[in-house]
Subunit: 247 residues, 4 copies
């Protein structure tokens, strides 16, 4: 069983009525329910804010031990990236480098852990007009795009446009065509240390994007693909060694 | 001075009135005139067919000596890829691996030298509706995209769509948004051996694409960027060597 | 079950006494026996020459149908690369691009299918002094290096040295230190089309390299890693399409 | 003229007699003298400690303005990485992403700016036995390896061994063979944002490595190659945009 930890800010869903209507218990709840519907996946959640709008102590929730028991971390954040403590960011980064999978959704392009893993600005252009999005499969043979046709559509979502300030992906998986005229590398894969990282662009909070079958397919595929392949080594050191033969 | 050799089939311009109107002396002539207008570039042409519609002997025209004196090769072909002799293909491939730059334009995605250098199908989807194309700059810092804004437009061109059967580019430079709804990796860079390779998608024969300023900027930039950086070694061998110190 | 096809020239083992002693039934037989000892792998062989030294008709043996039933192809060739018909080379290349895994061993760096897939010279330097080789694991988290320590040794093998004329690997997996003073990228991974390709350097015919446990571990790992992940599409076309929505 | 800024801790040279003998005015002075001997390069230095052993205020020395006037930054640090303020690290990272070149020398593999740009541990194995090092040229056609033969040697230097915890380099340039039995990716190139980054391994403080002609050739080549190619944009933003055509 793949153990997934879903992180969500859980802010918009509490404070904005239109978002609350779409995700009454938070988008993490919708993502968790979807993943827990799969036999080979077990998901739980951690949020920056609780349902009463009080801030949780992430440092106590996302511990090294917790991450050791996590195969894949999903991350959704938007307006409170700065409230994630650096201790948690370092821990998450180390866990990924040690083999944990990580999937960054939508506005998590600017989350601290994603930026730390990429080393770049992760900037992009954006426009919030509820464009129709058509996501084209660039590599139909990759496990993350399994079960998709040549493309799929999202009726309305925020536009994210190029240039996207990321290191060249190891593998570009999806490209989005936006009705308004832009394009975006909307699903990208990188290996960092022993861990696999996916960025997947859809999911603005004001549209019911995470209920769409193809979006769910991508997320489920990504969970399975980023799950560690047997190797999970949290000992990340820089050893003084002896000559081969003299150990 | 960068010595450019432009290869063109020169078939459509001879046989189709609407193409002849756009490129009366062939598109190679238009490309050559543009490049020869630059102080640091000197271009000449070789065509598969001559103005009278007779086939040229490419084997005698694209010799190893000729390629040795060529810094950058431009290639446009469409319906007569199979008429290019394998001897020429091997020679071009070796020249690129030895350091010559190569720029493949539009339907040259299926040319023999491009396929030989990529090792893949180089297949794509296509649709000939004269779509408006908007080409987005993915990397504004790269020499090949210098002088372009965030994007530029081509009023009408053939649609080429993903998936594009190429090895992951070393650097993705432009992404095209097509009015009809598709996207395409329209400018890509690879290093192969000592040579630099660019694929640039615009340029269907029935539209005056190679007269557009931004398209010309990309081609001129690409010529300068793919030109050999000092190294030009046609000796491509597999030597039996002695131990270091015993040579 | 992963269906493996092992190609071997089967020339040295027939003609050279010292090689025959090591691999009396050919090195393909040793590789097949090893792979068939695994529950999840089923291997069979095809050779360029038979045990009587007569040349086989590869065109009739490595058919499109045969490749369709093959998950992973292993290839060992050395002095008879030119005897492999181009029809077979094209078929193998297409099968890999369509999703079949391929593992090229030792002197198969110069085999026609490997060169066709890479698009480069695949040249290297070589020295046949029976050096001790120490193969260092560059990425201990990759499935292909699973079960290896920090390094392993081959008491005697041919030296292959840099520069190695390949496209930058997607992933460098092993680096060899040679007693005589050279280094080499001895295990590299690429994705080409839907297929995964591994080059693995050890295995000169005059040393019993394919009996060594760590060498076997790498080959078994590579078979499992290059096996298609569900996708296997031999339809590799370049379709004329309709607009999204107008199909 | 390429404006180079050389950062050095300047600690070992002050505190260890054997290092002081090799680099009486600090290794930055030796590097600066070498670079200032080139017509097209102008170098200056900033050190973490001054000649009297007092700590400098890096925050006041490596300002945004200073970096704006710097084309290429060289960085040597070893035991005082933690004394570099995060404000400086962020500034350097942003400058690189905005187009400044950066060359990290030897133990700067663990410097904060390098780790920030890579996003990985940058760990390695090490052994301090003064091994003979033989550095093999993996890509003889790259500007950074220009003027080197097939390999060059360093009589004595610290061993750095694989696995090296870096993202796959865009281009591997040199591989080191160590007398004691290890190998290392000793010169690697990455593009990050608009900037080029080089890591170059030689240069332990107790050996006169930076006086060796080939080591100097690599550093001078790297300075010229990482220098910005015309583009230098410190505006690194994430803009809210309008539709194409509606700007």
């Amino acid at each position: 069983v793949i153990r997934v930890l879903i992180f969500n800010e859980f802010l918009h869903e509490n404070r904005m009525e239109n978002v609350k209507e779409i995700y009454p218990d938070g988008m993490h709840a919708v993502l968790a329910e979807m993943l827990n519907g799969e036999e080979d996946i077990s998901a739980e959640c951690v949020t920056l804010f609780n349902a009463e709008g009080q801030q949780n102590d992430l440092d106590a929730l996302i511990t090294e031990e917790k991450l050791r028991e996590t195969d894949v971390l999903l991350w959704w954040g938007h307006c409170a990236h700065q409230l994630v403590p650096d201790s948690v960011v370092n821990r998450v980064q180390r866990a990924v480098l040690g083999g944990m999978g990580a999937i960054f959704l939508h506005s998590a392009h600017h989350s601290k852990p994603f930026r730390a893993l990429m080393g770049t600005t992760c900037n992009l252009s954006w426009r919030e007009d509820g464009d129709l999005c058509r996501l084209w499969v660039v590599d139909p043979s990759h496990p993350v795009t399994r079960g998709l046709g040549k493309y799929f559509e999202i009726p309305h979502d925020e536009m994210y446009g190029e240039p996207f300030g990321i290191p060249e992906p190891d593998k570009l998986l999806l490209l989005t065509w936006f009705e308004g005229g832009e394009v975006f590398r909307s699903c990208c894969a990188w290996r960092r240390g022993a861990g696999k990282v996916i960025y997947f662009q859809p999911g603005h909070e004001t549209y019911p994007v995470y209920y769409l079958p193809e979006v769910r397919t991508v997320i489920k595929n990504a969970v399975r693909w980023t799950a560690p392949e047997g190797y999970r080594d949290f000992v990340l050191d820089c050893p003084n060694v002896r000559k081969p033969g003299a150990e």
